[in-house]
């Protein structure tokens, strides 16, 4: 039974723990034992992308210390998984004590849905969800983790769910971490283009594998007055119901 360290991600921990529990359910259904180390905070990407190398290095080292005992590290995010897989070896390449350990951890770090399909051999999930859904590929899932088919494979196995493809699935939604705060109007234009693409498909719900993109798109749709239900794909795959992002309703955590 593979022992999986769940890299919860800072956004899931703070904003939407239901995604973390959905991930745990999916991993356990796939036969993994799951632990979520208590001392984890963030992958350090905000520092790394802002040019703050010192803090990025320190955080990377502590994540490695915390997770290297697991068979696999799995994150419900292509972006955070990409940080572990693609960037930690780069960040720590000149660190004699950590360079090799960073490479080893990188090789065992996965985005949730691709882990379920590639490593656990999951071909379908036992869930049902009525509705027309568009899937948003995050740039890091696509281009850092090469995750493309797996979310579609899993989502298409959900009973009642109909998947719609965006006309331009490869283009960024404009989140980009601190980019969306530093250049809000460019980010807004990119979000609007993505939301227009989603609504043009006829989908009622947008799902994706990265909470950053999804909070940005849900927040923009809400501000712009576009009715769009936004959820993390893991919630749909695990059948975790409850209000969509930024919406009220029964099944709230509290």
């Amino acid at each position: 039974m593979p022992r999986v360290g769940l890299f919860v991600t800072c956004l899931v921990d703070l904003v939407r723990p239901s995604v973390g529990f959905a991930a745990v359910r999916l991993l356990e259904q796939a036969g993994c034992t799951v632990e979520a180390p208590r001392a984890q905070t963030c992958c350090g990407q905000p520092a790394w992308n802002a040019g703050d190398r010192r803090n990025a290095e320190a955080i990377a080292r502590s994540v490695i210390d915390m997770f290297e005992g697991f068979d696999y590290v799995v994150a419900p995010s292509g972006s955070c998984a990409g940080m572990l897989r693609r960037h930690y070896p780069e960040i720590l390449k000149d660190d004699a004590r950590y360079a090799e350990r960073a490479r080893a951890l990188a090789g065992r770090s996965y985005e949730l849905m691709s882990f379920l399909v590639r490593i656990c051999g999951v071909a379908r999930v036992d869930a049902s969800w009525e509705g027309r859904v568009a899937y948003h590929d995050s740039c890091s899932s696509l281009r850092e983790m090469e995750v493309r088919a797996e979310p579609r494979t899993l989502l298409s196995s959900v009973a009642g769910l109909e998947i719609f493809e965006l006309s331009d699935p490869e283009i960024c939604c404009g989140f980009g971490g601190l980019f969306c705060v530093k250049y809000p109007d460019i980010s807004e234009a990119m979000a609007d283009a993505k939301i227009a693409d989603v609504t043009a498909t006829g989908a009622q719900m947008l799902v994706g594998g990265d909470l950053g993109c999804l909070l940005h798109l849900a927040g923009r749709a809400r501000r712009a007055g576009v009715a769009l239900e936004v959820r993390h794909a893991a919630e749909v795959l695990a059948g975790v119901e409850g209000p969509a992002m930024g919406e009220a309703g029964k099944g709230d955590v509290e």
Partner: protein, 467 residues
């Protein structure tokens, strides 16, 4: 319009508010992105070709000195002249001196980004020489007194109605009632007007896509034929280009050509590929052949952490695939080289104080690096510039302060857990019954255009412990 990269934020804002620009930029996908994808689909093994291209460029850059000297010897042997320009000012003066010695009054120009980089046209005009751009796009923007907005399609920001308007105000000698609704009519008019200029020109200036050291040749790719008319009709031809364009020989050029034309316009080959060397003992063609090799900060990047940016073959695929460029176009960058290549190159050429916005205005989506025909790691180079900015304490103070608070917490898990628990509750309360937060006194940029979906109220970690 005076290009100013430090005014990026405001310029981007204005670009986003321009509905005509949005229409023009909407054509990038069909005009460039799709054609490029189709071209490499037809070709087959893009990965192997770009490996070869990157290797060729790397080899050339690591032998830059010997290749350039070889190039100079071979050009000189065929009766041409090679000039070395350390910076823009030297390059402009060299060109002016050549033109004066040729007694040139009118000079035709093929498309050249390097002459944009050195501000050649304005300098020549000040010195009584009339430069005439002959590439259709360049001709249009010259009439409009605008800089190019795209590396290979300088007037891409314009729609055909804009061009018709421009021609009506510039070509006042033509009948005002003429029809200019069709693209073909615009092209025909430009052809007539430009033909007169070709006949009147005393010298021609072009850029070069590649320099082949072994043959002492400059290689120029064009689609309109204007490059050949520019370089062949006058007695004097001046090539102005960056010294990093050198490669070993025409075999290397042929590999890079396959990458360039497919990446740029989705063509298997352009209409014209001109191979230009010195006059030799040819009976026709220009008698005076000059090559001006510009450094202007390039050799300072060589071998450094951003040196891979010098591999660039200026195909503009990174611009066409960039979501930022697709949103704001090229003028907002306020620099000769916009888009991802500009974001990686400009801080090196112009300095971080001037170009700091460019590497920051990226989501690191990675599409530029994915399509780059010579495998330049563009996002990594942008991140390097952000690091330099951070180290030099040039990054925005509020961001650095917020980041240091966050990082301190992220490095102290117990504090972080407590902070997250409090924050989850506070934000939940602020979100109210609508579960959405409209503004906060921090991260104000978020709330310019978005609400923030309220947290569910407890952190994952506290719920996990309670499980």
């Amino acid at each position: 319009m005076i290009p100013d990269p430090t005014a990026f934020r405001q310029a981007a804002h204005e670009a986003l508010d321009d509905p005509r620009l949005k229409v023009a930029l909407g054509r990038l996908k069909t005009h460039f992105v799709q054609k490029r994808a189709d071209a490499f689909e037809r070709y087959g093994d893009f990965a192997a070709l770009r490996d070869a291209g990157a290797t060729i460029r790397d080899c050339a850059l690591s032998n830059l000195d010997t290749l350039l000297e070889k190039f100079e010897r071979n050009v000189t042997a065929r009766g041409g002249h090679v000039h070395w320009a350390r910076d823009a000012g030297e390059a402009r003066q060299i060109v002016l001196d050549i033109l004066r010695s040729a007694d040139a009054k009118t000079v035709t120009k093929g498309k050249s980004m390097v002459t944009e980089e050195i501000g050649l046209n304005g300098f020549l005009e000040k010195n009584g020489i009339r430069p005439v751009e002959t590439d259709l796009g360049e001709y249009i923007i010259q009439l409009r007194h605008e800089p190019p907005s795209h590396i290979i399609a300088p007037a891409f920001h314009l729609n055909k109605e804009d061009v018709a308007q421009t021609f009506r105000s510039a070509h006042t000698e033509l009948p005002p009632e003429r029809a200019l609704d069709e693209r073909s009519a615009l092209v025909a008019e430009a052809r007539v007007m430009l033909r007169r200029q070709f006949e009147a020109a005393d010298a021609g200036i072009t850029g070069a896509n590649f320099l082949a050291a072994a043959e002492g040749a400059a290689v120029i790719v064009t689609n309109e034929g204007n490059g050949d008319l520019t370089r062949l009709l006058p007695r004097t031809h001046i090539v102005v280009t960056g010294l990093e364009k050198i490669v070993a020989d025409m075999d290397d050029v042929s590999v890079l050509l396959r990458l360039l034309t497919r990446s740029a316009t989705g063509q298997d080959i352009t209409s014209y590929v001109s191979v230009v060397s010195g006059p030799g003992d040819a009976q026709d063609g220009p008698k005076n052949f000059h090559v001006v090799l510009l450094d202007n900060g390039r050799t300072a990047l060589l071998g450094g952490e951003t040196g891979e940016v010098l591999r660039c073959i200026r195909c503009a695929a990174c611009l066409n695939h960039c979501p930022i460029y697709n949103s704001i176009g090229g003028h907002a960058y306020g620099a000769t080289y916009p888009g991802p290549i500009g974001a990686a190159l400009n801080p090196g050429l112009l300095g971080l104080a001037q170009a700091h916005h460019h590497p920051n205005a990226s989501t690191f989506c990675g599409r530029c690096a994915e399509v780059c025909p010579v495998k330049i790691p563009l996002p990594s180079i942008m991140r390097y510039w952000r690091e330099k900015e951070f180290e030099a304490h040039m990054a925005p103070k509020a961001m650095v302060f917020g980041l240091s608070l966050w990082a301190f917490a992220a490095r102290h898990p117990a504090l972080y857990r407590l902070g997250a628990r409090v924050l989850a509750r506070v934000l939940r309360v602020i979100g109210g019954r609508k579960r959405a937060i409209h503004s906060l006194p921090v991260l104000r940029g978020w709330f310019v255009a978005r609400d923030f979906p309220a947290p569910q109220g407890k952190t994952f970690q506290e719920m996990w412990r309670a499980r």
